[in-house]
C-alpha cells in the first residue's frame, strides 16, 4: 500500500518538475481566462438542480426534479416544447442555451442548509454548474442563495415562501418566482372578509421557525387591517405530530377562526386534529367556526384527505388553470409522467426557462448580464398571467390564487378549486416594506466570481 504513495510521490517529483514548465501556461490560463465562474467553454452548459430527495419534502423534491428534466428536454428541442410556445419572450430556439446543449447535475439538499450548501458547492466546484436552482424550504433557499452570491453563480429559487428569501436576505445573484407570505396574507384577507365577515376573532397556530413567523405576521397584518382581531398566536414545534394539546385551548379562548401557519406534514396533522375535535361544527360568537391554511399545496391537500373540504388557502399555481401556458405545461408534464404537476414543479420549470431565456437575451452566461436581463423583466404565458421580475428585490409579482378544498373531488389530484385570482396590484408592496427587512435590506452588487 505504501508503495503506491511512493510511486505517486515519485511521479510527482519527476512529473511536477518536468511538467511544471509545460503546464505553466495552463496554470495561468485556467484561472484568468474566464471572465466569470464556470464560464461554459465547450458545446454544453451545466445547470445544477439541487432538490430535497430525502427528508420531509422528498415528494416535492421529486416533482421538482421531474419538472427540471422536462425543462431540459424542452430547452434542447425535445418533447412538445411545453411553455416555450406560450412564453411571451421568443428568444429560446429549442437548441439549448446560446446554442450550447443543456446538461444537468442533481444533488440532494436533504432540506438541511449544510447539506444543501455542500451539494451546491460540489456542483459549482466539481461539475462546473453555472446556475443552481431548486429547493423546497426557505432555510435552504436563503443558505444556497448566499453561497451562490459568494461563488458568483446565479441562484433561481425553487419553492420558498418565507418573506426573507427576497426580503431581509435578498441577494443580487438570487431570484424567486414563487410568491411569499406577504402576498398570501394580502390575497387571502379580502376573500376571507367577504366569506366570513370583518368581525372575526382569529387564533393562530404557527410552526416555530422563520417561515412560520413571517406567515403569521403577514396574515395577522392583513386580516387586522380589515377589522379582524387576533386573540392569540401560539408557536408549535416543527417536529410536533400530535396537535391535540394545542387545539383544545382554541375554543376556550373565544376565537371563532383558527389560522394554521403550518406547512407539509405539520399542516396535515394539525388540520386533521382540528377537524377531529369537531371545531368546524362548533358555533362561536353566533358564527360558524372556520379554519384557514395560508399556504396550500396539492400534496398537502392529498395528505389531509377529506379534511380540507371548504378550507381557504392560497397557492402559487394550480394545474386546473385554463390559460394557454398552464394547459401546455400540464399537457407535456402529464404526457411524460402520467399525472398533473404540482405548484413546486411549475415554479421550478418556469425558473429554468426564465434563466435560459435571460441568458439568450443577454447573449452571455455572465451572471451580471443575466441579472441585468432578469431585472425588471416582464413576461406572460407562464401560467400566472402578466408577471414582473422586480429589480429592487428580485421577486416575481403576479396574480395570487386563493383556493378552497373541493367539496366533491373527481380524482386524487383534483382536490383544490380556485375561488379567486387576486390581481397583482393587490399583493404588491414597497421594496422596503417592514416585513421585508425594511430599509436595511439590500441586494448588494452582482458577483460574477472569478
Amino acid at each position: 500500500m505504501s508503495k503506491t504513495d511512493l510511486t505517486r510521490r515519485g511521479l510527482l517529483k519527476t512529473g511536477a518538475v518536468a511538467g511544471a514548465g509545460v503546464a505553466l501556461p495552463t496554470i495561468f490560463t485556467a484561472q484568468s481566462a474566464s471572465a466569470f465562474t464556470n464560464e461554459p467553454t465547450g458545446g454544453s452548459v451545466t445547470l445544477g438542480f439541487n432538490v430535497p430527495q430525502t427528508g420531509p419534502y422528498a415528494d416535492e423534491g421529486a416533482d421538482e426534479l421531474r419538472a427540471y428534466e422536462l425543462a431540459v428536454e424542452h430547452l434542447n428541442g425535445g418533447g412538445d416544447g411545453g411553455m416555450m410556445s406560450t412564453f411571451s419572450s421568443k428568444a429560446l430556439q429549442g437548441n439549448g442555451i446560446l446554442g450550447k446543449k443543456v446538461e444537468y447535475v442533481t444533488g440532494d439538499t436533504q432540506t438541511k442548509a449544510d447539506a444543501a450548501r455542500a451539494s451546491a458547492k460540489s456542483m459549482i466546484e466539481k461539475d462546473g454548474a453555472v446556475m443552481i436552482t431548486g429547493g423546497s424550504s426557505s432555510g435552504v433557499a436563503v443558505a444556497v442563495q448566499a453561497l451562490c452570491q459568494e461563488a458568483g453563480v446565479i441562484f433561481m429559487a425553487g419553492l420558498t415562501h418565507s418573506n426573507d428569501t427576497t426580503g431581509k436576505d435578498r441577494k443580487a445573484n438570487g431570484f424567486r418566482h414563487f410568491f411569499n407570505s406577504y402576498m398570501s396574507g394580502a390575497a387571502l384577507a379580502p376573500v376571507l372578509a367577504g366569506a366570513y365577515g370583518t368581525d372575526r376573532k382569529a387564533y393562530h397556530l404557527t410552526a416555530d421557525y422563520n417561515w412560520g413567523y413571517t406567515t403569521e405576521e403577514a396574515v395577522k397584518a392583513s386580516t387586522e387591517a380589515l377589522g379582524w382581531e387576533t386573540v392569540a398566536a401560539v408557536k408549535t414545534p416543527l417536529t410536533q405530530t400530535d396537535f391535540s394539546s394545542y387545539i383544545a385551548p382554541v375554543l376556550q379562548s373565544g376565537a371563532d377562526t383558527l389560522v394554521l401557519n403550518h406547512y407539509g406534514g405539520n399542516m396535515v396533522n394539525s388540520l386533521t386534529n382540528a377537524v377531529q375535535f369537531g371545531l368546524r361544527d362548533k358555533q362561536v360568537n353566533g358564527k360558524d367556526f372556520q379554519i384557514i391554511v395560508p399556504l396550500y399545496s396539492r400534496l398537502m391537500a392529498k395528505g389531509a384527505g377529506a379534511n380540507v373540504k371548504g378550507i381557504f388557502g392560497s397557492t402559487n399555481w394550480h394545474w386546473s388553470l385554463q390559460d394557454e401556458g398552464s394547459k401546455a405545461f400540464v399537457k407535456s408534464f402529464g404526457t411524460k409522467y402520467g399525472f398533473p404537476p404540482s405548484q413546486a414543479a411549475h415554479t421550478c420549470y418556469v425558473q429554468a426557462l426564465l434563466y435560459a431565456d435571460a441568458v439568450e437575451r443577454a447573449g452571455s452566461f455572465n451572471p451580471c448580464a443575466v441579472v441585468e436581463a432578469l431585472e425588471g423583466f416582464e413576461f406572460d404565458g407562464m401560467g400566472n398571467g402578466k408577471t414582473l421580475y422586480r429589480a429592487d428585490d428580485h421577486q416575481c409579482f403576479k396574480d395570487v390564487l386563493v383556493v378552497k378544498g373541493k367539496e366533491n373531488p373527481d380524482s386524487e389530484f383534483d382536490l383544490l378549486e380556485i375561488v379567486e385570482v387576486t390581481p397583482v396590484d393587490q399583493v404588491t408592496y414597497a421594496p422596503d416594506h417592514p416585513q421585508m427587512g425594511g430599509a436595511e435590506a439590500t441586494l448588494g452588487t452582482c458577483n460574477p466570481g472569478a
Binding site: R8, I27, G107, D108, A113, D114, A143, A146, N210, P237
Partner: protein
C-alpha cells in the same frame, strides 16, 4: 521524534503525506473520462474530509478510550460554529480568532454538559447527552432565533461590519487568514488532469495534522492509559482509590473542544451556521464514522469520516441519467435492467449503501476499516514472508 516512538512517527508522516497530497490522491481520474464522477478532489469535499476527520478524532478520544458513548457530540460542533460566526460578524474576519472562540465556547459547554451527564454511565449517559443535544437543537431552531437565526441560520451579511476590518460600504466580508481568502485556489492542469489546491483546505489540513498529533500524544500518555482503565473496569479503579470522574470529564471536554474546532473550521471554510448541524442525526453520524473506521484506533475515525462524506457527496449525486450513460453500450433491455438494479443504491439511495457497508463492517470487521487494512496487510505479509505487517497496517489508504 516529536516525542513519538518510531511506529507512531511513521503513522504521523503518512497522515501528513496523505493530507498534503490529497488534491492528487483524490483526483485519480482524468477530467474527460466517465470515471471523473468519482473524483473527490474539489475544495469543499476535501475540506469536509479533514474537518469531519477532526470531529471523529475528538469523538474517538472519548468513545475509543473511555468507552463512554456520547450521542450528543454534534451540539459542541454547533456551539463552536455559532461562536465562530459571531466572532466573524462582530470582531474580525480573520479565521484564527473565530476558530479559537469556537474551541473555547464548545469547551465551556462541554464542561457543563459533561459535569451533569458523567454522573451516569452506559446507556443513561448516552441518553443524557442526546437529550442535551436535542435541547440545544430545539433552542437554536426557535427560542434562540435572535442569536442563532433560527432555521435560516447565520451568515455574514453586507450589513455586518466587524470592528477589526476595513470593508468598503456594501461589501460582504469574507473569511480570510491575514488577508488570504479561504476560497483562493490554485489550479494545476497536467494533461487531462486538473488538480485544485485550495488555501482553505490546507489551513484545515494543518489543523487536522495538529489534532491528530495531539491525539497520538493523548493515546500514548499516562492520561490515556488512565482513560483506558476507565473503559476496561471503572469499578476496579474506584476500589484502588482512584477517582475516575476528573479523567472522564477531562476526556469529555477535550473531545468537545475537538468538536468545537471542527465547528469553527466549518464556519471558516464556509461562513454559515445553522441548527441542523446539532440535530441528533449529526451526532449519530460521528458515531458511525468512528465505528466504521475502527473504534480506539488512531487513524480509524479519519478513514470513517472520509468514507461517509465521500458517499454523501459523491454517491448521492449519481442520478438515473448518469447510470444510463454508463450502461449505454449494452442492449436496451439489459441497460434498463441494470439501471433498475443499481439505481436504488445510488442517488437518493446512498443511505442504503451506507447502511449495507456499515452492517458488513460491523459483522465481518468489528475493528472497522483499520482491521480490514490489517487483514490485507497480513495477507501480503505472509506472501512476502517478511514480518513487515505493521508498516502496511498504518498506511491504509484514505479512500
Amino acid at each position: 521524534m516529536l516525542g513519538l516512538d518510531k511506529k507512531d512517527f511513521r503513522l504521523l508522516v503518512i497522515v501528513v503525506a496523505l493530507t498534503m497530497l490529497a488534491p492528487f490522491l483524490l483526483n485519480p481520474f482524468p477530467e474527460s473520462s466517465g470515471l471523473a464522477q468519482f473524483n473527490a478532489g474539489y475544495p469543499d469535499l476535501m475540506q469536509r474530509f479533514v474537518i469531519f476527520g477532526i470531529f471523529a478524532i475528538g469523538f474517538n478520544i472519548l468513545f475509543g478510550l473511555t468507552g463512554y458513548l456520547s450521542f450528543g457530540h454534534a451540539a459542541f460542533l454547533g456551539v463552536g460554529s455559532y461562536a465562530a460566526i459571531w466572532m466573524m460578524k462582530l470582531v474580525t474576519l480573520n479565521v484564527i480568532p473565530a476558530i479559537i472562540m469556537g474551541v473555547i465556547f464548545a469547551g465551556i459547554f462541554a464542561l457543563a454538559v459533561g459535569y451533569i451527564s458523567l454522573r451516569r454511565s452506559g446507556i443513561y449517559f448516552s441518553i443524557l447527552t442526546l437529550a442535551f443535544a436535542q435541547m440545544s437543537y430545539a433552542l437554536a431552531y426557535s427560542v434562540l432565533t435572535p442569536i442563532t437565526g433560527g432555521e435560516t441560520g447565520l451568515q455574514i451579511k453586507a450589513t455586518d461590519r466587524p470592528i477589526l476590518s476595513n470593508l468598503e460600504p456594501g461589501e460582504i466580508g469574507r473569511a480570510n487568514l491575514f488577508g488570504m481568502d479561504m476560497r483562493t485556489s490554485f489550479e494545476l492542469g497536467l494533461g487531462d488532469w486538473l488538480f485544485t489546491f485550495n488555501s482553505g483546505y490546507y489551513i484545515a489540513a494543518v489543523f487536522m495534522i495538529l489534532a491528530f498529533y495531539l491525539s497520538i500524544r493523548i493515546f500514548r500518555s499516562p492520561f490515556g492509559t488512565m482513560l483506558r482503565a476507565v473503559k476496561s473496569n471503572q469499578t476496579r479503579m474506584y476500589y484502588t482509590g482512584l477517582n475516575a470522574r476528573p479523567y472522564t470529564l477531562a476526556a469529555f471536554v477535550i473531545s468537545g473542544m475537538y468538536a468545537g474546532l471542527a465547528g469553527g473550521l466549518l464556519v471558516a471554510m464556509d461562513t454559515q451556521a445553522g441548527p441542523e448541524r446539532m440535530f441528533w442525526t449529526a451526532s449519530g453520524e460521528v458515531v458511525l464514522m468512528t465505528i466504521l473506521g475502527g473504534v480506539g484506533t488512531l487513524i480509524g475515525p479519519v478513514l470513517g469520516a472520509g468514507a461517509i462524506k465521500y458517499m454523501e457527496n459523491i454517491l448521492s449525486k449519481i442520478n438515473k441519467d448518469i447510470l444510463h450513460q454508463w450502461f449505454a453500450i449494452l442492449p436496451d433491455g439489459i441497460e434498463n435492467f441494470l439501471v433498475t438494479i443499481v439505481y436504488p443504491f445510488v442517488g437518493k439511495g446512498w443511505h442504503l449503501t451506507l447502511g449495507i457497508i456499515f452492517m458488513a463492517v460491523v459483522i465481518f470487521l468489528p475493528g472497522g476499516l483499520v482491521e480490514g487494512g490489517q487483514r490485507i496487510a497480513r495477507l501480503f505479509g505472509r506472501k512476502k514472508a517478511k514480518g513487515d505487517a505493521e508498516e502496511a497496517t498504518q498506511s491504509t489508504p484514505a479512500e
